[in-house]
Amino acid sequence: MNKTTFLTNIASRLGRTTTQSPNPRQIVGAPEFWIHRQKSEAERVALFREQFEALGGEFEQFSTESALSTRLAELLDDLAPQQIGAWGPHAAWPVNVEDVLTSYHALRWAPGMTPHAFANVQASVTGCAYAIADTGSIVMTSGPEQGRSVHIMPLIHIVLMRAHQIRLRLGEVFDEVKSGLRSSDGHHELPASVHFVSGPSRSSDIENDQSIGVHGPARVIVLLLE
């Protein structure tokens, strides 16, 4: 069926015409009381941590980049994955850990990479675009050096972030991805994928018994730089 016929049928059932704009509305989005809440950066970090840990996420906080790098290396030693993966070097890294990634021979996302190339990656290291305190969520956006496969495929996902990336609520992130990314001709150009990740992959499909890591990562570890 063609689009015009399809939409005209809907419009006529609704007593409208397809050229008509929608009726004005009073209610858009979240309630005012929700939008008008304020929290300091320290409070947002604390709330993010609380929510993220409640979802089964792991969280560690550092005051210097070198302390974070040292911990990352230690973590990779402990986990001893056969293959480490990571975003490409020119991705939007919030913290510089190139030395660690190089010394652990991380497979980097680059032209020519495919999901298949990352199929045997056991642990990945990435940054993130934002985090959301209310829900303990991490926001991953796709890009040339930020393949989606990097964080959806492995068993362990290590996320680096800075305190200032944490927003209080989901709606703030929507506003920013919408306004921040405009293509050269001025129209909204969202990344092809914006992925909101809240803790490890879970399922209750077997007799209601919670199981972790059925498809996505079984561990999500945040290393935060203040």
């Binding site: 689009k3 009726n23 858009v28 709606g171 092809a192 992925h195 007799e207 018994d209």
Partner: protein, 477 residues
């Protein structure tokens, strides 16, 4: 699949079968209790739940009342991003659109993530008939696909399978020396389905919401399989009901709170995946081809119908199932339709028209619990009453039912009486089943059972109580 063959039996027969399956009854009750309790906890701690529900209702009502505009905007934006948009009047057109893509790509293997709409158009059967392998990748759907069954719950499709049965199914699918530990079963599924994702030519998903202002599509999942399905294969097909639209991303913020809290009592869904168009020219993963099939299939008939338009507000959370005393006793298969529970009892006859599901509106006690649970405040119990009225007017009820209906027609004729009946039904929300048999004492279900030769009739039927009630008596007496 069970759907087609079960049309010939009545909801009562199927319910009777389900009632005899003790495991099923216990499992359904356990799960629905658990989901309901978790929901209560999470909504209480979230706070202002009624304000959020009103918000949700207002957003959905506005969207549906202006659907031509928002759907048009959504499709335009999709096309701008380079997606192919197909409009399907009915299931057959949707199937044709999918088949054309499959043929064009020469696809041999397809992975799917859970989608009610794809059940609605029976896409798996059609593709399998063409010799294409279709693999369900949601853990619960994978289990029931191995068992050649249909889902029994919107959110937890394999609610009726125990771990022994699951192990046996996995062993038949190639597993060796598997224990019945959840961990082991899960690990096998992860391994098996990984192979499927990597070998697939096409991924098919549904879509929870399409965002008009950006042309984005949003999926809510906990396992992460949808992310594999839509990002690994080169081609991604989305099949969605035409009503799954929201005007703006700000509106999605409301739904992102309402949906998981209502569905499973989770504060947040594990994965909210938002895709906008196929992969960008500089990206190296994600689909290169994105096809979006927008399905009517009886939905537009509800538009402009004051009694039923609001059924299109539904966000498919499943909360109404978890509180429904009838669903809790008989489980999803007894409805014999794609959509079970109160929403299914309303939706299935509406989408299909005709007589096929005309007995479903009777599989309800009209207690109103579904309305109270619904995050977008759809008056499902009112709709069930309207549907019964219409079935009777059309002469679709069977003779015995028509006899039983006379009493209710009288009752539904006056709003005051109906309110009384609902109030009374609420006070009857206690256990309906005793010793494995339905002990329905309230009118509608009493009528349903009476006309269908169901054991253990009420001590006092609705009509026995009626004169007493009309004089202001209490139904509990």
């Amino acid at each position: 699949m069970t759907n087609a063959s079960e049309h010939s039996t009545t909801v009562l027969k199927r319910a009777e079968m389900a009632m005899q399956d003790e495991f099923l009854r216990k499992a359904v009750r356990f799960t629905t209790d658990r989901l309901r309790n978790k929901k209560q906890t999470v909504t209480a701690s979230f706070g202002h739940w009624e304000a959020w529900r009103e918000r949700g209702e207002a957003i959905r009502a506005h969207t549906i009342a202006n659907l031509d505009f928002y759907l048009g905007q959504f499709a335009d934006n999709l096309e701008k991003q380079g997606a192919h948009v197909h409009f399907a009047h009915d299931a057959a057109e949707a199937v044709t659109a999918v088949r054309e893509v499959v043929r064009e790509k020469g696809a041999k293997q397809i992975v799917k993530s859970k989608s009610m709409v794809s059940e609605e158009i029976h896409i798996n059967q059609h593709l399998e008939a063409d010799g294409v392998r279709v693999i369900e990748t949601d853990l619960g759907e994978y289990i029931i696909q191995l068992a050649h069954e249909a889902p029994s719950h919107i959110i937890i499709p394999a609610i009726h399978k125990n771990r022994e049965q699951i192990r046996a199914l996995f062993e038949a699918d190639g597993a060796k020396n598997l224990s019945t530990e959840t961990r082991d079963l899960t690990a096998f599924a992860r391994h098996r389905l990984r192979e499927a994702f990597l070998a697939a030519d096409i991924g098919i998903t549904g879509c929870n919401f399409g965002i008009a202002e950006t042309g984005s599509m949003v999926l809510f999942t906990n396992e992460g399989n949808a992310d594999m399905v839509m990002n690994i294969p080169k081609t991604h097909i989305v099949v969605m009901g035409m009503e799954r639209i929201l005007p703006t991303l700000s509106d999605l913020e409301v739904m992102a709170h309402l949906l998981p809290k209502s569905a499973t009592g989770q504060n947040v869904i594990t994965y909210m995946s938002m895709i906008t168009g196929p992969r960008r020219s500089l990206d190296h993963d994600g689909p290169t081809d994105l096809h979006v099939i927008i399905l009517d299939n009886g939905r537009s008939r509800q538009l402009g119908d004051a009694q039923f338009q609001a059924v299109l507000h539904c966000i498919r959370c499943g909360a109404c199932l978890n509180v429904c005393p009838v669903y809790r006793q008989i489980g999803g298969h007894a409805y014999g339709a794609v959509y079970p529970g109160p929403i299914g009892a309303v939706l299935s006859p509406l989408l299909n028209g005709g007589e096929q599901y005309s007995d479903l509106p009777y599989a309800s006690s009209l207690c109103g619990a579904c309305y109270e649970a619904c995050p977008v405040r759809i008056p499902l119990h009112d709709m069930l009453v309207h549907e019964r009225q219409r079935q009777v007017q059309k002469g679709h009820g069977k003779p015995l039912e028509q006899l039983a209906m006379k009493g209710y027609r009288q009752m539904f004729a006056k709003p005051g009486r109906y309110r009384l009946a609902v109030r009374m039904a609420r006070s009857f929300q206690g256990p309906l089943v005793h010793n494995g048999k339905i002990r329905a004492r309230i009118g509608p279900l009493g009528g349903w059972t009476a006309s269908r030769d169901f054991p253990a009739l009420a001590k006092r039927s609705f009509r026995d109580l009626w004169p007493h009630l009309e004089n202001g008596g209490d139904a509990d007496e």
